[in-house]
Assembly symmetry: C2
């Protein structure tokens, strides 16, 4: 069994890097805070006897040798970047429960056949740099390295530049054989908590489509410009925000649709907005429904832009299809929960995870634990030490199951 208190203490110590007054964490990808958190993880892993390597997209791998180091490793991990209003568990729990598994193996002098690794994947959140899961995507060959390094934030700074700046542009090629990959994560939804279940055995992750839309009208004076002569880009955008919501509602159950980011130009009180840039996030576990939502969105955006005389640039910038996880890995997770006597249920992930991309190149599974009120991407995000501990124990057993011949 893993050490509940040690895992909790590590989470709390790491959570101070970027910790906010409200008890959350703001540690955007490739900022100085991200560097500090990476440094601390590296220090802890080296103290646990691991060798740490960094690849060209900044992914960090801490290796505990196995009996046969020519065998591919069993890898655990997640991300340590957060949302601007993030919490202390989303992502970092998967990284530090990996470290806790390694510490526990050390405590018990357990030798595995395969080497074991705990990993950090760069820029999973997709908040500072879009899309999400960029670096696990490069690892899985979904994206080119150049694509990954050229992702830019709203100020135009690229991931490549920022990796250089914080000293995490590693020398290792991105991508290498993996025996199995496991990611422990808070659920980020309400199901486990409501059903008073400790472990979510993640069988699938829903699909996503992300869009960027720019509407261009005409800046003009809010006072002397008659209502019927206006080309108000914000009025158009606000209609699309409504329709995005309507499409989500029309495709229940399970559809989600969100406008999370919106910028107005010139953003002046007495100027009719000339340009609005905004993003759309669509999700559904069924790829056909996701395609239908895509078509509905394209139709309604074109209609609104046309009716209002606005120019529109509409781009789908990301498509991540629904992911079925590997049966053997899913079984390892379910069996581990069962053996430990934890209540568990199969569950579909509402969020994207690095595991979704790694699943393309290695057998992959995920372990979910409940979080308070199902809330994440919010400074109030919270989870119970005993649930985190249960998830970590399941991770340990699932890993052992795959790492021993």
């Amino acid at each position: 069994k893993t050490n509940e208190q040690r895992l909790w203490n590590s989470l709390m110590e790491m959570g101070e890097i970027g910790g906010t007054e409200k008890g959350g964490c703001c540690r955007l990808a490739l900022t100085d805070l991200d560097k500090q958190a990476r440094d601390l993880f590296t220090e802890w892993c080296e103290a646990a006897g691991c060798t740490v390597r960094v690849d060209k997209i900044g992914n960090v791998f801490a290796r505990r040798p196995g009996k046969n180091n020519d065998l591919p490793p069993v890898v655990m991990g997640s991300h340590i970047d957060t949302q601007p209003t993030g919490g202390k568990f989303d992502g970092v729990y998967g990284v530090l429960s990996g470290l806790e598994v390694i510490r526990t193996l050390n405590d018990n002098n357990i030798e595995t056949d395969h080497p074991i690794e705990a990993s950090i994947w760069t820029n999973e959140e997709g908040s500072r740099f879009a899309p999400a899961m960029v670096a696990s995507g490069v690892f899985a060959g979904v994206f080119d390295l150049e694509y990954g390094l050229s992702r830019a934030d709203l100020d135009g700074k690229t991931m490549g530049e920022e990796l250089q700046r914080i000293g995490y542009a590693g020398e290792h090629e991105v991508g290498s054989p993996v025996k199995a990959f496991f990611e422990a994560h808070i659920e980020q939804g309400p199901i486990l908590e409501e059903e008073e279940t400790s472990i979510g055995v993640v069988t699938d992750a829903q699909g996503q489509r992300w869009y960027e839309v720019t509407l261009t009208g005409q800046e003009a004076h809010a006072g002397p410009t008659p209502m019927l002569r206006r080309k108000d880009a914000l009025l158009g955008a606000s209609k699309i925000v409504q329709e995005v919501n309507n499409i989500g509602l029309a495709n229940q159950p399970n559809a989600c649709s969100t406008v999370g980011l919106l910028q107005v130009f010139p953003n002046s009180r007495n100027v009719i907005p000339g340009e609005v840039f905004f993003t759309i996030d669509f999700r559904h576990p069924n790829d056909d429904v996701l395609s239908k939502m895509d078509q509905q969105l394209r139709d309604v955006c074109a209609k609104i832009a046309d009716e209002m005389g606005l120019e529109m640039k509409f781009e789908q910038i990301w498509y991540s299809p629904p992911v079925p996880f590997n049966t053997s890995c899913v079984d390892s997770v379910r069996q581990a929960a069962e053996d430990a006597g934890y209540s568990h249920r199969d569950i579909v992930s509402g969020a994207g995870h690095d595991a979704c991309y790694i699943a393309r190149v290695a057998p992959t599974g995920m372990v979910f634990v409940p979080c308070e009120n199902g809330i994440s991407h919010n400074e109030e995000e919270n989870a119970k030490p005993e649930d985190l501990h249960a998830g970590c124990n399941v991770l340990l057993q699932a890993v052992l199951n795959q790492a021993c011949l």
Copy 2:
């Protein structure tokens, strides 16, 4: 007659300070560019024999002595700050046509009884610091000096701090007797151009109400958070944007209603927006209709916030009632246009102007000239040299009419 080419050249030279690639001007209030423009105006006025003084809110007055300098001055002027996407004429035309009048009086050795002044009023646009017309408002006693100096931009910098920083926190008390005030300005609306009329004799300005609204919902993950559990502040704001537009349409003719500024927090693609801050600008020439619009807005905002379970902070931050200009000054403008043989018509200003506040403490009139397609607060703002010249000639005659006993 004033000198068309000299006026145009001055406008073009001043327009380079903050000049944009698209031919517009971005010279926000109390920035380094505003300082540069103030310095240039001061230099030009001193070269024209004027004495320049600055008051405690940064208003600049360049005085050409009259026969009797104990008499209150006839003052001309406007502002030199612009919108982020501003043009080369809005405001600065009223300042530099004042200077052109003084230069013309010098050329012709004309002595007036009253002294004559050309003026710059600080932060008229209300874009960097809200509300608009702050410093002419302080001059007119509508606002306290403390209120004016404490206006803050979105970064929290105050007008007082920024005046100090650029060296335009003058020592003169704000407010002094004025014989008459005249402001020349581009129309900023389509009427004069469409009617092929050179001069707008401004009889009134419409009333305005400005609001600030903050909607607070709950940040949550865009993926695993079911549609019906959301408190999406942007969805609420976008409904209000629609209703603001509907209120404008429902109060035609003449009503204008605009959401020009909107900020989303945390503004991340995969986070349901937890907070949205936005502004509303309402206008109508009839104060009763403006009050009716105000009530409609309050009702609809409360309803939407309530239905969506959002917290709302709603504040009217500015009310500027409709302004009737002084009959004697309006007559001076009309007579000057008539005498010079310019086509003219009476017109109501859709925009607010420093003249609206000065009208409370001195007889005040305004001269409008056409601008291209009625467009302003846009880098494409444009006006014809001959129209600007006509307006300047009308200004000269109206001023002489008031400045000679």
